[in-house]
Amino acid sequence: MSNHFIQKTWVIADFEMRKIMHDPTEILLRAVQPTLWLLIFGQVMARMHMMPGGNYLDFMSPGILAQSVLFVSIFYGITIIWEKDLGITHKFLVTPTSHNALVLGKALSAGIRCIPLMIIIYILAALLSVHIIWNPLHIIGVLVLLVLGAILFSTFSLIIACLVKTRERFMGIGQLMTMPLFFASNAIYPINIMPGWLKVLSHINPLTYMIDGMRALMTGAPTGFSLITDYTVLLLSSALMVLIGGALYRRVVL
């Protein structure tokens, strides 16, 4: 990767962040959903004692963190379509900027957008006496997984946006994908209690690996795979998404 590529990527991410700083209400509103999951769903489920020997909230908090990353990122494509409708994308594409840098820059900003959610969920989890590992290396590890996951799902979303091109179709597909990705993962229940077919699906779902890594680093739970596997799956799948996204990005204006 050349310096030039990194610099352009950063320019895009930097300006996306400035937009968030101008109006942080979006971030606060985004925090409502994970809060409800933890405070209501989590509290009720914890009373069912379905985790023998474990605390359900410990199990669920990293899942909810990953879930909020998924929900924020999977609708990122709507921004891409909105920018296309406004003509902003046209102007980006007319600059001498590599399409991969444009796509990665936008994906990175989706990751940065999720950082406040991470802070809020950590604080909430601490208040709910979740057993959190405060070792800075673990926190950085979770952060890296969060950014990688956001890159992965936001670019996946961008790819769909480039293919469907209209907001209406995109919203339909976005809704269609979110729940299957979420339910076919280890976010709110462990893989070993899943029926066989769902186990298979959860193994090809990158969200599972993101949660597996986050759970190990955030609460010290044993990993289902290994941290190396988790990071490798996320890194490779997000790199693949960025390459496909970069190749398709110009199609959004056609």
Binding site: H22, G87, H90, K91, T95, V253
Partner: protein, 266 residues
């Protein structure tokens, strides 16, 4: 050598030739207008020449660079203002300009002075720190033009630059286009539906109809060409583009109408 040269430039959408075998040249420092009915193919020409849309066949050169093989080099010498008002409303004018200054690889030391220079040039300095969503249509358009000339392009593409603006704002945009042409010696290709805009701003005009060029020349040549006493550009427009068979009156872009061959004035 002409700064823009197209040879049989063609773009087909689902078997419909939106642009069909276009041949024209634009010389450096000309202001050239592309006129025609809605769906005539003007925007498709602009999208191809700005490297957004690959041509189906034919060739074009901008500043001597091949449109497809050297698109990256072309992007460094052209500026583009799309038809839609396309700035990011959540950012300030300075931020909108700084973003593009950086995307155009302007050295970081030079970014700020150049942004300030162009804000001043467009008369936007007083509102430079306001979010652009508070701007009027005219101010937004001026900001967009500033954004498109940050890297001092030699060719500027303006796709209906004054669409939706009130007469005062329109006049202001025209004045800025004239000033910018003088000051930065830019070649301009614009599309418009306003005949006085084409007449007043451009030294050469081409008419498109159904993806083909049907007439071109200076405004005066075109007015003379229809042999009518006291003819205006509007008469010329109607003369060259309005003789449609009845089923072709729909004005949707890229309608499924096939090209009719007709005598050209070229």
């Amino acid at each position: 050598m002409s700064i823009i040269e197209t040879k049989k430039l063609t773009r087909v959408f689902n078997e419909y030739a939106a642009v069909n075998g276009l041949d024209f040249n634009i010389e450096a420092r000309e202001t050239f207008a592309l006129l025609g009915t809605n769906g005539a193919g003007k925007s498709t020409v602009i999208k191809m020449l700005t490297t957004l849309l690959p041509p189906t066949s034919g060739e074009a050169y901008i500043g001597g660079f091949h449109l497809v093989k050297e698109s990256e080099k072309i992007r460094r010498i052209i500026g583009y203002v799309p038809q839609m008002l396309s700035v990011d409303g959540s950012m300030t004018a300075i931020e909108n300009l700084m973003l593009f200054a950086k995307l155009y690889d302007i050295p970081s030391k030079e970014c700020k002075p150049r942004v300030m220079e162009l804000l001043d040039f467009m008369g936007l300095t007083a509102d430079a720190k306001k979010p652009v969503r508070t701007y009027s249509g005219g101010m937004t358009r001026k900001l967009e033009i500033a954004q498109s000339i940050l890297h001092r392009p030699s060719v500027l593409f303006l796709d209906e630059p004054t669409v939706g603006l009130d007469p005062v704002a329109r006049k202001a945009v025209w004045d800025h286009i004239i000033q910018l042409r003088e000051q930065y010696k830019t070649t301009i290709l614009l599309t418009t539906h306003l005949m006085d805009e084409a007449d007043g701003l451009c030294n050469r005009i081409a008419f498109m109809s159904h993806g083909k060029l049907v007439a071109s020349g200076t405004p005066q040549e075109l007015k003379d060409s229809i042999h009518k006493e006291g003819s205006t550009l509007e008469d010329v427009f109607i003369h060259y583009t309005a003789d449609l068979p009845p089923q072709e009156t729909a004005s949707t872009e890229r309608s499924d109408i096939h090209n009719v061959s007709k005598p050209t004035a070229l």
